[in-house]
Structure formats: C-alpha cells, structure tokens
C-alpha cells in the first residue's frame, strides 16, 4: 500500500471525524435553539466529509476494509488527527475558538486540494469546500460578536484563543507525508497555508477586538504521528464502544 497516501487521507478524515464527534456531544445543549441546530449541522457536514476521506483511505489501504472499520476499530495511536480537534468542548467560547481555528485552516486546505492532480481528492475537496465556506463564515461571525461583545464574552473568547493557540502550529507541519502528497498532487503543502490562515485570523481578531497571540510561540505537535492527548482515549471509548461490543452489527 502507498503508506504516505494512506497517512494523508486518514489525516484529513480523522480531523473531521474527531471534531464531528466532539460537536455531537453538544447536540441539545446549545446556548440557543438556532445555535444548537447550526452546530449540529456543522457536525453532520464534517462526518459526511470524514466518510469520503476514510472511504478512499480504506481503498488505498487495500485490506478489504471500509470507512466504518477505520473509524470504529482503530486504536488511539492509529489516529492521525490534529491535537486541536481533540481539545475538550469546555465552555462555548472554547468550542467556537477551536472551530474557528480549524475552519479557517480547513477552508484554505480544501481550496488547495481542489486543484490536486488526484481526481478523487479534488472531487472530495470540491464537494466539501461548499460546506466549509459557510462554516468559516459562520464561526468567524460568532467570534466577532463574542469578542466585541460583553466584558464576559470578550474575556472568555480571549482566554480560549490563548489556551488553544499552541495547538494551531501543527496544522502547518510539512513532514514527508505532506510533502509527498504535495508533489504527487501538484499542490502546495500545508506549510503554505500558514500565511493566509494568519491573515484571516488576524483580520477577524482585529474586528473582534481580540489580541492575537504570538505567531512565533512554541507549538504542540504529535497528533499527525499518532501521539495524542488523554482526551482522544475518552472520545474513542464513547465513539467506538457500540461497534466493538457488537462487532459488525447493522441497523
């Protein structure tokens, strides 16, 4: 199997899968009815995208498995999602800041991937970017309103930004998997997304009257290589329990 292709595809699928799983926990618990539905919609969009990426990954793996097996039967160290998406939901500012940092990366990433020489990747990216264009707009709008809101909302959002900042660097890591796919697909590696990401985040932060943490701050890494925080264990325990307890069950 093409190891690097498999790693690349599971990375894309795992970011969406784990983030979606986190957002699903908030279904029915949103601060307002409209917001509850909106966040659930985002979660559904993400799981649809996760499915597409992991479907392709399963084919590349060539072991006769499918996307469900990859999602529900891999162990934590076999997941390749960013550390950012496994950070806890916390309060709503934490949830939205995590979402905003990811959505911005996701948008520029899909934009780049839609030009990939791999037609399957381009197809998935083109479909997904329609959803993600709205995600990044929605989350950005909310960050502006919370940042430029009351004293309490401003304090919480600023705190969330400061806490999550060290997980953002990983999104621009260009290791050999990343570089291999960039070369094969004729597209820019993730490191090239850092500039547009910083520009967009700075712009929204300025409007939200939020202070941007230092772009040169030390960044946490490891998610892409299967080294995860404690959180992922709990997330997977909840997500995978049913399939592991009743293997291959369907309804």
């Amino acid at each position: 199997m093409n190891e690097q292709k498999y790693a690349f595809l599971t990375r894309m699928g795992d970011h969406a899968l784990i983030l979606s799983q986190q957002l699903c926990k908030l279904c029915g618990k949103g601060p307002a009815l409209e917001e509850d539905m909106a966040l659930a919609n985002v979660a559904l969009d993400l799981i649809g995208q996760a499915r597409l990426w992991l479907q392709y990954a399963a084919e590349v793996q060539g072991a006769g498995g499918d996307e469900d097996q990859l999602a529900f039967l891999r162990d934590a160290h076999q997941f390749h999602n960013f550390l950012l998406v496994e950070q806890p939901n916390g309060n709503y500012a934490d949830t939205l800041m995590r979402q905003f940092f990811f959505d911005t990366w996701h948008y520029f990433r899909l934009q780049a991937l839609s030009q990939s020489a791999d037609p399957r990747i381009a197809e998935i990216a083109l479909k997904s970017i329609k959803e993600v264009t709205y995600h990044v707009r929605r989350t950005g709008d909310l960050i502006v309103r919370l940042g430029d809101g009351t004293e309490e909302s401003h304090a919480r959002v600023q705190s969330a930004a400061n806490e999550l900042w060290m997980y953002t660097g990983e999104m621009f890591e260009a290791d050999d998997v990343e570089l291999a796919e960039a070369a094969a697909g004729g597209i820019e590696p993730a490191s090239g997304l850092r500039q547009p990401w910083l520009e967009h985040v700075s712009q929204v932060f300025a409007e939200a009257t939020l202070a941007l943490p230092s772009p040169d701050a030390w960044m946490q890494k490891g998610g892409l290589h299967g080294r995860h925080t404690e959180q992922l264990g709990y997330i997977l325990a909840e997500m995978q329990y049913l399939q592991r307890a009743y293997p291959a069950s369907q309804w």
């Binding site: 307002a32 009815l33 409209e34 917001e35 539905m37 909106a38 919609n41 709205y134 707009r137 929605r138 709008d141 309103r145």
Partner: protein
Amino acid sequence: MSKEWPLWEIFIRSQHGLAHKHVGSLHAPDAEMAINNARDVYTRRNEGVSIWAVRASDIVASSPGDKTALFEPSNNKVYRHPTFFPMPEEVKNL
C-alpha cells in the same frame, strides 16, 4: 434592556417559486446572524434559494377586529373580477 435576542420573521423563496413565503421565526442578535440562523434552521432540506429576514417589531399587521370593515365589502363585487370579456384564442393561456 432585554437580554433576549430580538425576534425575526423569516421568508424563503424556493427554487421554483416566485414569491418569498413566510416559514417561521427565530431569534438573532443582528441582521447578519438572522440570515445565518435562517439558513441553518429553515433551509436544511433545500427548501429555498433566497432568504428575507425582517425584525418582527418592524412588521405592521391588520387588526383582526377590523376584518369586517376591511375585507367584507369585496366579498360580493363580482364586477371587479376580470372575467366578463372574451379572450382571443392566442392569449388564452396568459
């Protein structure tokens, strides 16, 4: 000063429709969020391609008590209906 978000009435025009239809209401802090929320709440099943959001407080409605005075007179004025002249064959489907 209310802590509640203002109420907005939402109108959606479907892909094959000509007019925006009232589909319900929602709360949102401002106009932009009203559109976003309407998109999330009222177009989940591809119900429409255009959204109008109006603050509920801006809508002026006729009073039910005036129903008789406002609407009964037009009840039996059949001469106001354009049905008394023959239409030429060519424009029958206009």
